[in-house]
């Protein structure tokens, strides 16, 4: 990949001169086409906050360019009760983290959005 695959050096109103799809969606979807949706059950922050909420597009030492490993901690940092979220915070998972849940995505496989499952199982 090259810098100008994602950044437009010739000018745009977007912050950091990021390219976008013609629809305004993140340029990441040009390659990762299956993540764009629209889905019946959207993981809303994927659309509102963008891919960089969880991934480091410039590189990471973590698999899947994740910001944080292990996966369950990345999820828990958002999926924890908070009273400050005016739009309603996500509920925390009631799983025993010491058991088999090192990667929430082992069950919540369709974490970018699902057409069939409210909890992104399928």
């Amino acid at each position: 990949m090259q810098c100008n695959d994602c950044h437009n050096p010739h000018g745009t109103g977007t912050v950091r001169q990021l390219r976008t799809m013609p629809s305004g969606d993140a340029i990441c979807y040009k390659c990762h086409v299956d993540k764009q949706g629209p889905f019946v059950y959207e993981h809303v922050p994927v659309k509102t906050e963008g891919c960089t909420s969880c991934h480091s597009p410039h590189g990471s030492t973590n698999p899947r360019l994740l910001n944080v490993m292990p996966v369950n901690m990345l999820c828990l940092q958002c999926h924890t009760f908070s009273t400050q979220l005016t739009a309603g915070g996500p509920s925390g998972p009631a799983h025993n983290q010491s058991a088999k849940y090192q990667a929430c995505t082992m069950c919540h496989t369709q974490i970018h959005g699902s057409n069939f499952s409210t909890v992104f199982f399928k």
Partner: protein, 805 residues
């Protein structure tokens, strides 16, 4: 957290940036690898041709190798470190030839790559994935019309590389005919293999009976992405010009995932997604230096990936004839996953037969979908510098995506909790996305050295969603059911269990940025600015009164930049952004964010260039229940020295520090006798009042310190010989809480070393001989965990002959 842009860090090995050739499953991988390595391309005829070429090449190499001192390493993979290219030191540019009115230059480089891997081949394929076999390493053709009177084109450029088995191949084409047309095309083929076995691994404990560690990542994939882009501009210099474009992106190959139905079943899906994009546009030059454009886009996406059971961890049922079930990925009988060992039995599986038939297990699972998404988009745009003092760039686009897919799902086995022996799921999913985008930028040159830059961006979208599904469940005559029970032919609930979803969410996002830039001398300039942002979000959960999530967020950012060139040899750039948000939409969004960027280059001598960079991103949210603190700091130094024509060297060092800390509420009950300091020290009072299921609260911490160093030396021991030697190392040291005693640090603590050497010999008569050697060694500092070791080291040797005219 978004990291700052960093040049040197991009050279580091990133676990996801490697790709690998096709493999249907771990068991078949070796065979597939062997097949790949022997094939130049698909089809027996091409393989025979490749073999013949390889034999000829090899004979030529052996004949010429008596003149070489040592081997050299080319690599066609994305260069993670100093990698030697076979074309690093080609012979002097030949004169080419003139034919049919064209000046023609051409080259082709054919070679053979051989590898040996010790340790984890899966990890090698994940990170490196260069395989053994003959290669067309590079090919270039340039044709230029001598008098600009070519029949079909005036200029033609064609280049391709990596064919024959390397994971990344490409071909690029450019052609133009003066005022008539301009054509650009490219084809890229990327094979991606991923088996970092800690990802999604259930970490099955050894205390389980049986003990079955998961040795490959349950989310392994081995896919190939083929991307084609073609753009044609007709009459590019006319008052009215036309643009046509087409892109094709297809990804196929086997991959694995999982499904939770009672226990975690392993699924195999043959990935198959395609998007075809069509573009048409017309440019009107309505005034001098002013172009008005209209574009029509159509994206058509097809998602035809099907999911089926991958029968992992199978056991026979005690029946005659014996059937079999898959117990899924998680095997922990002590914690009754998928079930406990019955009293009187030594194991859940004895002589291959299941001893507890009340287990949740899978006999079959199938899910089919046919996603079809159509996205037409229209855009009008204007770019102009008609007025000498004003530059304008603006566009408006409207897009409306429509997506739908049927659901066809079936399961057989046992869901012990609900006494379900089978279920089927049917229905239809449909969603839309309607969006408007306004993108404006204007630059007003107030004086020769003072300019005002205004940027405005507006993006509004809404996504209405509709799902209409029905599930038919089948139980046994007399619950509780077992795996030996017969399923009733009538569903548990006549007519099934319907589920209907009607929801929607929308967001309107407006940003405006104003900057004043002043170049107050030829040696320095400054800019100051301000950015204002406004987000308005609504989520209609079910269209019932009062059940709407609403969020309004404001962003205020101060901008400052400075550039200086105090002496001719020294350049300095500095930027900062300070942002405050009045609210956050998700917990890890910052209330305060600061970015600092500094870059400098110093070239006092023509043969020496020194560089340095600092990129700092800091984010925080001081809310008492969040206490989010994160940063990404990157510091880099580079030096490029070439004191003599026959000697030069490059040096680079980079340090990257990432932290991401926040309070979390969680639930963790370690096994008896296991002490986890993070869990033991967690506060069990703060969360309990608000989240009884997750009563523990602690400050979750993530730290990642990455050091990267690289050095290469170039030298020319003889007139026709060029050599490189180099070495790079990436050393990562990090820490995270340990939720599970079996959880290693994995990629948070490793060293990755890559020595490299190459040699290029100008044989004469338009021939060059290249040899390259790369060495890769990956080793983690933490314990392995209950999975396959990830350590590997590997040699990759490539030899090639290049012919150019």
């Amino acid at each position: 957290m978004e990291p700052p842009t960093k040049l040197a860090l991009s050279l580091q090995p990133m676990l996801l940036e490697r790709s690998a050739p096709a493999r249907a499953c771990p068991e078949r991988s070796r065979r597939a690898r062997a097949e790949r390595s022997s094939a130049v391309a698909s089809g027996p005829g091409k393989r025979r041709t490749a073999t013949a070429i390889a034999v000829l090449m090899w004979a030529a190499m052996i004949a010429s190798s008596a003149n070489t001192l040592f081997a050299q390493a080319p690599t066609a993979s994305p260069p993670p470190a100093p990698t030697a290219s076979p074309t690093a030191a080609p012979p002097a540019e030949p004169d080419g030839m003139t034919r049919g009115g064209y000046q023609i230059h051409s080259s082709v480089e054919l070679g053979y790559r051989s590898n040996d891997v010790t340790g984890s081949e899966d990890m090698y394929d994940t990170l490196v994935n260069l395989q053994t076999g003959p290669r067309i390493l590079d090919q270039t053709l340039t044709m230029q019309s001598v008098d600009h009177q070519g029949l079909l084109f005036d200029n033609l450029y064609l280049n391709s590389a990596g064919w024959g088995g390397d994971p990344n191949n490409y071909m690029r084409l450019r052609a133009d005919k003066d005022k008539w047309y301009n054509l650009q095309g490219s084809f890229r083929r990327d094979q991606s293999f991923f088996d970092y076995d800690l990802l999604a691994n259930p970490l099955n404990p050894s205390s389980s009976t049986p003990s079955i560690p998961t040795l490959s990542s349950p989310h392994l994939f081995d896919t190939t992405r083929r991307m084609t882009d073609v753009d044609l501009t007709l009459l590019p210099q006319s008052v009215v010009s036309f643009r046509l474009g087409y892109s094709h992106n297809n990804m196929t190959g086997p991959s694995y995932s999982s499904i939770h139905e009672g226990t975690e079943g392993s699924l195999l899906q043959n990935w198959n997604t395609t998007i075809n994009s069509y573009r048409m546009g017309v440019d009107f030059r309505i005034a001098p230096r002013t172009v008005f454009s209209y574009d029509q886009f159509l994206d058509y996406y097809k998602g035809d990936t099907d999911y089926q059971l991958h029968p992992i961890n199978q056991a026979l049922l005690p029946t005659t004839p014996a059937g079999s079930v898959s117990l899924g990925l998680s095997i922990d009988t002590v914690n009754k996953v998928p079930c406990a060992v019955p009293t009187g039995q030594s194991s859940l599986i004895v002589s291959g037969t299941l001893t507890n038939v009340t287990c949740s297990a899978y006999s079959s699972y199938l899910r089919n979908q046919r996603i079809r998404t159509s996205t037409p988009t229209e855009r009008i745009s204007l770019r102009s510098n008609y007025f000498k003092m004003l530059e304008i760039l603006g566009s408006f686009s409207y897009s409306s995506a429509t997506s739908s897919t049927p659901l066809d799902e079936s399961f057989r086995g046992l869901l012990s909790r609900s006494n379900t022996l089978a279920f089927t799921g049917t229905g239809t999913a449909a969603a839309n996305r309607i969006s408007d985008v306004v993108d404006l930028e204007a630059t007003l040159h107030l004086t020769q050295h003072l300019r005002l830059i205004e940027k405005f961006y507006f993006w509004a979208y809404r996504i209405p969603q509709n799902g209409n599904f029905n599930e038919l469940d089948y139980s046994c005559a007399v619950p509780p059911c077992t795996l030996l029970s017969a399923a009733l032919t009538t569903p548990t609930i006549p007519g099934g269990t319907p589920s209907i979803t009607q929801s929607s969410f929308d967001q309107t996002w407006t940003r405006n940025q104003t900057e004043l830039a002043w170049d107050f001398s030829k040696k320095a300039g400054v800019r100051i600015g301000y950015r204002y942002g406004d987000r308005d979000f609504n989520h209609f959960l079910d269209y019932l009164p009062g059940d709407v999530d609403h969020f309004v967020g404001l962003e205020k950012t101060a901008l400052f930049g400075l550039w200086a060139r105090p002496i001719h040899a020294l350049r300095l750039n500095f930027d900062l952004e300070h942002t405050n948000f009045n609210g956050v939409f998700v917990r890890l969004s910052p209330r305060k964010e600061a970015r600092y960027r500094f870059q400098t280059t110093y070239a006092q001598r023509s043969w020496a260039t020194l560089g340095g960079s600092i990129n700092i991103l800091q984010r925080s949210n001081a809310d008492a229940q969040t206490q989010y603190l994160g940063h990404n700091q990157n510091y880099g130094l580079t030096a490029s020295l070439a004191p003599r024509e026959r000697f030069g060297m490059d040096l680079a060092y980079n340090f990257n520090s990432v932290i991401q800390n926040a309070l979390i509420c969680f639930n963790d009950t370690p096994p008896t006798g296991v002490i986890l300091p993070f869990v033991m020290n967690a506060n069990n009072n703060n969360c309990a009042g608000n989240d009884t299921a997750n009563n523990l609260m602690a400050n979750s911490y993530y730290t990642n310190h990455t050091n990267f160093g690289m050095a290469t030396v170039r030298f020319k021991p003889a007139k026709r010989v060029m050599a490189n030697v180099g070495y790079s190392i990436t050393s990562v040291d990090g820490s995270v809480p340990q939720f599970n005693s079996l959880q290693p640090l994995g990629s948070l603590q490793y060293k990755y070393q890559q020595p490299v050497a190459n040699l290029s010999v100008d044989i004469g008569h338009k021939w060059a001989y290249n040899m390259g050697w790369n060495y890769y060694q990956y080793g983690e500092g933490s314990f392995v965990g209950p999975t396959a070791p990830r350590y590997f080291h590997a040699n990759s040797l490539a030899e090639s002959l290049r012919y150019s005219f």
